[in-house]
């Protein structure tokens, strides 16, 4: 089973990386990119035998405790 965790910056938090990417995109001619926010993506391979619910619960905990920093980041979890 695989899970994905998407970690994004809370709105209101400055994103210097995203801003730099947006600026570079503009320089190479992509004016349509008005704003860019950069986040993280984790692909977690889970041990066999977990139920979908159990997997979702565990991965959510992993995200809360480690993968995201609650002061500045939000996250969403997807299990498939």
């Amino acid at each position: 089973m695989k899970a994905k965790v998407y970690v994004t910056l809370k709105s209101g938090i400055l994103d210097p990386q995203g801003k730099a990417v947006q600026h570079s995109l503009e320089t190479i001619g992509y004016n349509a990119a008005m704003d860019v926010r950069q986040g993280k993506l984790f692909e977690v391979t889970l041990a066999d035998g977990l139920s979908l619910d159990e997997a979702k619960k565990q991965v959510t905990e992993m995200a809360e405790k480690l993968l995201a920093n609650p002061v500045m980041e939000n996250f969403t979890v997807e299990v498939e």
Binding site: I13, L14, P16, Q17, A20, K65, L66, L67, N69, V71, M72
Partner: protein, 232 residues
Amino acid sequence: MKFGVIVFPGSNCDHDCYHIAKHVMGHDTSYVWHKDASDLSGYDCIIVPGGFSYGDYLRPGAIAKYSPITEEIKKYANGGGLVIGICNGFQILIEAGLLPGVLMRNRSLKFICQDVYLKMENTDTPFSSEYSAGQVVKVPIAHHDGNYFADDATLKDLEANNQVVFRYATVKGETSDEANPNGSVSNIAGICNKNRNVLGMMPHPERCAEKVLGNKDGLGIFRSIVKHLTQS
């Protein structure tokens, strides 16, 4: 007087901090390996050194937060013990919840190693009493993620309690944006907790505390600690 220098996997200013405490200040000092999670009460001051604990992978300090020793550091700090976190040490103390805010990537997105000037904002702490209020000192920084941020409420709180110990400033002491090397909110370079027994700072005082290195401005931090411990 006994100093403990925490060694996480990837710490790399541990030797430098040990050298200052042991050879420059002349006090009993030991390394504390992160897996040896035993009580720290035998120490008078704990130094969480700089470096790249766990490679700074994920976020600086994020993985070190779950090292066995971190629980002990928390207990020690909550019991009033002196803890100073320098650079990566500051990042770890923040992730561990001992200090508020976050340290984000520098606004230039680059690692920066250079001398900066710091203005002393609060000299009434165990870590800064050897300086005079408003004094400007030269101390180097060396980090990729030192861009301090906290929400408005937290900032207000920090200012109200005088928890901002140093700010980035010009040589004349102006805390302007041009003097801000990494984008930190309100030019914050170092803060302490409400109780004043935990300090986190991005600059490296241990790198400027000996004559042969051409700058001794950082020595005051260690002198302040020793003075505080001698008096108490």
